[in-house]
């Protein structure tokens, strides 16, 4: 991978392909029983997975979920299908599902309670991956801020506060169908903006 420098363009498509290849080889190593490859994946995505769980559940449970996500990757590495998305996305989705499963089994918790548990952002070990993540994160947050207010608000409630579509509708004084439509359109617009922007000037 290339190292980002001031004034250089970062080719997202190329970095994405390189990342997928890197992930594919690591998971192949996991399938072969190489625990060092699992450790590398954990070092790369552990903070992401843990952070996702921590937003939704308490710190002890988040740590357990984080561990379980990677144990599940070890036990069933073939569940990741590279043609359907990156390992990063796959692990992120599992983490959210596990956290929500925990909520289902343990009772109702408020999103604000969970947000109080948030800690400082982590430093992700792989420099180029971290750069990509930070650029992607900055980009998507900027794109989010640029959405029409109703779409942005609905996404914030659904994603960051973890509300259901019905709860988003109640909070915004709309119908459930309208809330759902705003979230879907807003997220698709965010995705389009990321994929359309193939290169980003490095600041």
């Amino acid at each position: 991978m290339c190292s980002p420098r001031r004034g250089r363009a970062l080719d997202f498509a190329a970095v994405f392909e390189t990342t997928i290849d890197w992930e594919r080889q690591l998971v192949a190593r996991v399938e072969a029983g190489d625990d060092a490859a699992l450790a590398t994946i954990y070092d790369q995505y552990g903070a992401l997975v843990h952070g996702i769980a921590l937003r939704l559940v308490g710190s002890d449970t988040a740590a357990d979920i984080c561990q379980e996500v990677f144990v599940s990757l070890w036990n069933q590495p073939d569940r990741w299908d590279p043609s359907r998305g990156s390992l990063r996305t796959f692990l992120a989705m599992i983490a959210r599902r596990r956290a929500i499963d925990h909520l289902r089994s343990s009772g109702r918790r408020t999103a604000n309670e969970q947000r109080a548990h948030r800690a400082a952002p982590a430093i992700v070990p792989n420099v180029d991956e971290a750069a990509l993540a930070l650029v992607a994160g900055d980009g998507i947050r900027a794109a989010l801020a640029g959405l029409p207010d109703p779409q942005r608000r609905a996404i914030e409630l659904a994603y960051f506060n973890g509300l259901t579509f019905r709860q988003v509708a109640e909070a915004t004084g709309s119908t459930e169908g309208t809330a759902k439509s705003r979230i879907r359109l807003g997220l698709r617009r965010l995705g389009e903006q990321l994929s359309i922007t193939e290169s980003v000037a490095w600041q």
Binding site: A32, D34, L38, G46, G51, C66, Q67, M93, R108, T110
Partner: protein, 307 residues
């Protein structure tokens, strides 16, 4: 506001359907938070306690019989024209290659006490039984196949008999094998020549089963520390992890305990083709960390049995 966790209809249940899962992962970057340091060690302890269940290695006799059957199946498909195709990397035709296998099977059978040793220099795998090969080429390919099948079957029958001793010594071409390891080496050659014939006759090569690959690759990798001095006496063996990816692969730690000096990752089938001298070590797609000279030496050593 309380989260409605009953009758859930929310973003996570719709993310994949809407194709926005990557967007959610990107949003999650802002939440990345290092887990407690203890989680990493606990994770690796749990993984160590539940090592990967790989394909079960085949007993060597079963592996040999399986490769004999695979080659017989291929030979039964061949057309008249196929027998005259040159079986690269040799100068033999497909017919000649089967005649060579007949001689080597006779040699193996003789080592097991099942017949007479073929004439020629037993130390030279390719030159052994040259006259017998020439004689076979005077007859029909089908006759040679019958002769080879009969000798191979005698070995298969022996493996299933009370007289079979898998641990008995069996020196092949000067290599100090046991009978078991000798059978694996024979299976390796049969697999390789099955591939050779497929290529010579324009057929797709046929993958060996996971258990077969596991048995052959395990045999090869475990022998690497002992073979290394044969290619570089000055290169000391050191702890090395060999990761063979793909069905039938696995993770092997060789060279003793201690700090790992090298890691090499490659595809299990490609590795077996290096062992069989069908891929040059320099052309093998692999990932190497650590001592590259050691890895190069081990890959070169992996080919020591093949001729």
């Amino acid at each position: 506001m309380n989260r409605d966790i009953d009758g859930l209809d929310d973003l996570d249940s719709r993310a994949s359907e809407w194709g926005v899962a990557p967007v959610l992962a990107a949003l999650a970057e802002s939440d990345a938070t290092s887990p407690p340091a203890s989680i990493r060690s606990r994770l690796l302890e749990r993984v160590a306690a539940s090592p990967r269940a790989h394909a079960e290695p085949m007993p060597p006799g079963e592996l040999y019989a399986s490769r004999v059957a695979a080659l017989q199946s291929l030979l039964a498909e061949l057309d008249d024209d196929d027998w005259g195709c040159v079986a690269s990397p040799y100068e033999w035709t497909v017919h000649g290659l089967i005649a060579h296998l007949l001689v080597i099977e006779q040699y193996s059978a003789a080592l097991l006490g099942l017949g007479a040793m073929p004439l020629g220099d037993a130390g030279d795998h390719l030159a052994l039984g040259a006259d017998a090969i020439a004689a076979e080429l005077e007859g029909s390919p089908q006759a040679t196949v019958e002769h080879w099948s009969a000798v191979a079957q005698s070995i298969v029958d022996h493996v299933g008999s009370d007289r079979f001793d898998p641990d008995a010594p069996m020196s092949m071409h000067g290599w100090p094998f046991s009978v078991s390891s000798g059978l694996v080496a024979r299976a390796f050659e049969l697999w390789t020549h099955t591939d050779d014939i497929c290529r010579a006759t324009g057929r797709d090569t046929r993958s060996a089963g996971p258990r077969e690959l596991r048995t052959m690759s395990s045999f090869s990798v475990s022998s690497l520390p002992f073979l290394l001095p044969s290619v570089d006496p000055d290169l000391p063996m050191a702890p090395t992890r060999v990761v063979l990816t793909g069905s039938g692969g696995g993770t092997f730690d060789i060279g003793g305990r201690g700090e790992r000096a090298a890691l090499v990752v490659t595809d299990v089938v490609d590795y077996c083709r290096v062992v069989a001298r069908r891929i040059d070590p320099g052309e093998l797609e692999r990932t190497v960390e650590g001592d590259t000279r050691l890895v190069a030496g081990l890959l070169e050593a992996s080919r020591a049995f093949a001729v």
